[in-house]
């Protein structure tokens, strides 16, 4: 069995390079898909609207037009979901520590740990946007403060309560199923957190965030 330890250094470097290349290619692909498909979609969408104004439809025409509009809406939703992931890969992140208390403001927190001195080491938007994806209002959050990180969990909405594992994998595995659900926004947050050494997963009916953090002296 070949292990990383036994591989020649040059081969490891080549593999790392290959990994970087495929990651860059994936980034380019996502960017191209999200940009290049949008223009023809916009064209069809506008043309459809103009046709509706120009030719009042009979029943068949109305059904056909509604089907087209609905199909366009689905396509736009799927494209927006891919765009969200693509942008999360490139977003410029703020790297100044943020008080955990500030990040959690507006939500109900259940924790045995002292949180007032905890500083998160991620762009706070990576976390607050995940909360917003779950609910526009107050969430009941469970908290576990560890030496170098904070684990936060919240209940998943009913529509995705069965989701298990990575939101990015779920979304890219089935745009049809997940594009217009909170999974699309959670996938973007997963990308953001992963870039900063954190993690986002679903399981057991809950969303789990792991956020790098330090305790202020």
């Amino acid at each position: 069995m070949v292990t990383a330890e036994r591989m020649p250094e040059s081969l490891i470097e080549q593999l790392a390079l290959l990994d970087d290349t495929s990651d860059n290619l994936l980034g380019s692909f996502l960017r191209t898909v999200s940009h290049d498909l949008k223009t023809p979609l916009l064209t069809v969408s506008l043309a459809l609207e103009l046709l509706g104004d120009a030719f009042p439809a009979d029943d068949r025409g109305r059904v056909a037009r509604e089907a087209l509009t609905s199909g366009m809406r689905d396509l736009e939703g799927m494209l927006d979901a891919v765009t969200g992931v693509s942008r999360a890969r490139r977003r410029i992140l703020r790297d100044e520590p943020t008080s955990l208390v500030d990040v959690l403001t507006g939500h109900m927190v259940i924790s045995d740990d002292e949180v007032s001195r905890v500083l998160t080491r991620v762009d706070a938007r990576s976390v607050t946007e995940a909360f917003s994806a779950l609910s526009g209002g107050l969430l009941n959050l469970r908290l576990d403060v560890r030496d170098d990180s904070v684990a936060i969990s919240a209940a998943l909405p009913e529509a995705i309560v069965e989701l298990d594992g990575s939101c990015v994998a779920a979304l890219l595995g089935s745009l049809t199923q997940y594009a217009d659900t909170p999974v699309a926004k959670l996938a973007a947050c997963e990308v953001l957190l992963t870039r900063q050494g954190g993690a986002l997963r679903c399981g057991g009916g809950r969303l789990w965030l792991q956020i790098p953090a330090v305790i202020a002296e």
Partner: protein, 136 residues
């Protein structure tokens, strides 16, 4: 000087440009709208464009970055208000476009209603001279 608004659409996607022209005519019926689908030598080709025209410049022009054309346009025709339009605009590219001289940089409106508010906010109805619609 007349009150007829003049708009130039610079977009290599001909179908999109034609549809946008229809939308513009629906939103601003008396606007004169020219379409340029070839970004090469754009500044020179805009020589006869009326003073103060609104230019809707696509971000991705046949593989060329529309933002790179902005300084050239500003140098040749500083009177034009050039708005960069992109199907998917990032904040970085928006800032690049503004720094390069764009009047504004936004995502392409996706409905007639969005075009209406976008165009009416941009057009200075009184200050733009007339030209005839044409496809270059």
């Amino acid at each position: 000087m007349t009150s007829t608004p003049s708009v130039v659409i610079v977009d290599d996607e001909v179908d999109h440009a034609l549809i946008v022209r229809l939308v513009l005519h629906q939103v601003v019926p008396d606007a004169t709208v020219a379409i340029m689908t070839d970004p090469r030598a754009l500044a020179q080709r805009l020589v006869e464009t009326p003073l103060g025209s609104l230019v809707l410049l696509d971000h991705n022009l046949d593989g060329r970055d529309g933002i790179e054309l902005l300084p050239l346009l500003a140098a040749e025709r500083s009177d034009l208000r050039v708005v960069l339009l992109s199907a998917a605009l990032t904040e970085t590219n928006r800032l690049r476009a503004l720094a390069a001289g764009a009047y504004d940089a936004v995502e392409k409106p996706s409905s007639v209603a969005e075009w209406r508010s976008f165009v009416t906010a941009l057009l200075d109805m009184a200050a733009v001279p007339a030209a005839r619609s044409q496809v270059a």
